[in-house]
């Protein structure tokens, strides 16, 4: 199973990467929204974990782009912005789940496994 992580915070990126690799997932890393959109089109991951605030394109713009391109991996949005408006917008654009920072990496893995139906 291939998971793409779009996150510009190095510590969060490394931690999620190491956690997912340990769980046996293949992982692609991107640090900005524009690269994330290209990589999703190219590599067709099963699931995307994306931050909202990123350089060049936000997590919301990634979701919009996925809708336009009719590419549909599961998407978990990970953000420090937990306002109702942001959450609703993400779900309206097709997000499968939303987690607010500070977040638990263990919980993130559980949610990924739930979405990918892995026990």
């Amino acid at each position: 199973m291939l998971i793409l992580i779009a996150e510009d915070d190095e510590l969060i990126l490394k931690t999620i990467e190491h956690k997912l690799l340990k769980e046996g997932f293949e992982v692609i890393l991107t640090r900005n929204g524009k690269d994330a959109i290209s990589m999703i089109e190219e590599k067709k991951p099963d699931l995307v974990v994306t931050d909202i605030m990123m350089p060049f394109a936000s997590g919301i713009e990634i979701l919009s782009a996925l809708q336009e391109k009719e590419v549909s991996p599961y998407v978990i949005v990970l953000s420090s912005m937990g306002q109702e408006g942001v959450v609703l917008e993400a779900f309206n654009l097709g997000a499968s789940d939303f987690m607010v920072k500070p977040f638990s990496p263990n919980e993130l893995v559980l949610r990924i496994k739930r979405l990918l139906r892995i026990k």
Binding site: E10, L11, T15, P102, S104, N106
Partner: protein, 354 residues
């Protein structure tokens, strides 16, 4: 002879200036090289610290216990500062087991001792850092020390101490509002509100008191607290704030009432509307647009024709449009006696995609 002395003098002067310039160039190069080293060091230290934290979160504190690399670098003050900064920043990134690991790292590498040293310093930035460290790492022993900072003369220290108290004590940490005579910045409001997880109803008397506080900043914050937790219990207290002397309070009061609205909210908004200034009126109209309360239609139609402020007319027209009153708006254009300013507003509303 005089010529020779002059030429010699000029030569010495030139050589002297050249020497000064060369010394300055060397100093600038040395300064630049030191800065480059600091930046380079900082980047490699950041990578190292993040790798170690990430490894500890994955494998447990044992994976980095007594790490020789870190122990050696902790002898360097710059590295110590950076390590503490990254730990503090990580508090906003991770929760649960990962956060517990961060706290273990904090004690393992004696960052607590560094924080205690900083809190006793006379340097304001060091005090702020210490409060942030104690807050992020849940050092409850530091609470008495942080409490004493609530009345510090420096606003930055007071602000950190306030946030810290709310982090430690949740709603009860807001006690400082009772006697607070300063300003709560928008940023501070946001982070205080984010840090409060619940409002226990045995503290409702306090909220009532804060809504009547002489400090508008406290009233404004309390309104946002009521709005966040939708505390309809305070509905009547907030209605009274529609007469507050501070315009911002009246705006916040309207927004808060709209978040805890009941069947009488619309009629009360309409009742207070005529005595309010444009900004408050616009806020009321904006709230009607969000709630799409069709009992407001006749009020809006009246305002479209009679409002003197063009921004209010525009807002009303857009609200009518968003509530599906297209036929009404088109009919207005067909009435020969409709004034040109109103026609323009209606055409704008019909053209805008809402």
């Amino acid at each position: 002879m005089i010529c020779a002395i002059t030429v010699q003098g000029l030569t010495y002067l030139f050589l002297g200036l050249l020497t000064i310039v060369l010394v300055l160039i060397i100093l600038v190069l040395l300064y630049g090289y030191r800065n480059y080293q600091l930046i380079h060091n900082r980047q490699s230290w950041e990578n190292l610290i993040e790798d170690k934290i990430s490894l500890a979160i994955l494998e447990g504190i044992e994976a980095i216990r007594d790490d020789k690399e870190i122990i050696k670098l902790l002898g360097i003050e710059d590295f110590q500062r950076l390590f503490l900064s990254i730990l503090i920043a990580s508090d906003q990134k991770f929760s649960g087991d990962a956060h517990r690991i961060l706290v273990q790292i904090f004690y393992e590498y004696k960052m607590d001792a560094l924080a205690w040293k900083k809190v006793k310093s006379q340097d304001i930035f060091k005090n702020v850092r210490a409060i942030q460290a104690f807050t992020a790492m849940d050092v409850e022993e530091a609470i008495p020390e942080i409490l004493s900072f609530l009345t510090h003369k420096d606003a930055r220290i007071r602000s950190e101490a306030q946030y810290s108290m709310v982090r430690f004590k949740d709603f009860r940490g807001l006690e400082f509002l009772n006697s607070f005579d300063g300003i709560i910045s928008n940023w501070q409001k946001i982070r205080l509100l984010k840090a409060i997880s619940e409002v226990p109803n045995q503290h409702y008397d306090q909220i009532s008191t804060w809504l009547k506080h002489s400090n508008s900043s406290v009233v404004a914050f309390t309104l946002q607290l009521v709005k966040k937790f939708r505390l309809s219990f305070f509905y009547d207290d907030i209605i009274l704030l529609l007469n507050h002397t501070d315009l911002n309070i009246r705006v916040y009061a309207v927004q808060t009432l709209q978040s805890i609205e009941n069947e009488s909210t619309l009629s009360e908004m309409i009742r207070y509307y005529p005595t309010q200034c444009s900004l408050v009126q616009l806020t009321i109209i904006s709230g009607i647009r969000k709630s799409k309360n069709y009992d407001s239609i006749s009020f809006l139609e009246n305002e479209l024709i009679n409002a003197r402020d063009v921004t209010i007319r525009v807002s009303v027209a857009e609200t009518l449009m968003s509530m599906g009153q297209v036929s009404y708006l088109k009919n207005i254009l067909e009435v020969p006696t409709t004034s040109e300013p109103i026609r323009q507003v209606v055409r704008h509303a019909l053209a805008v995609k809402l």
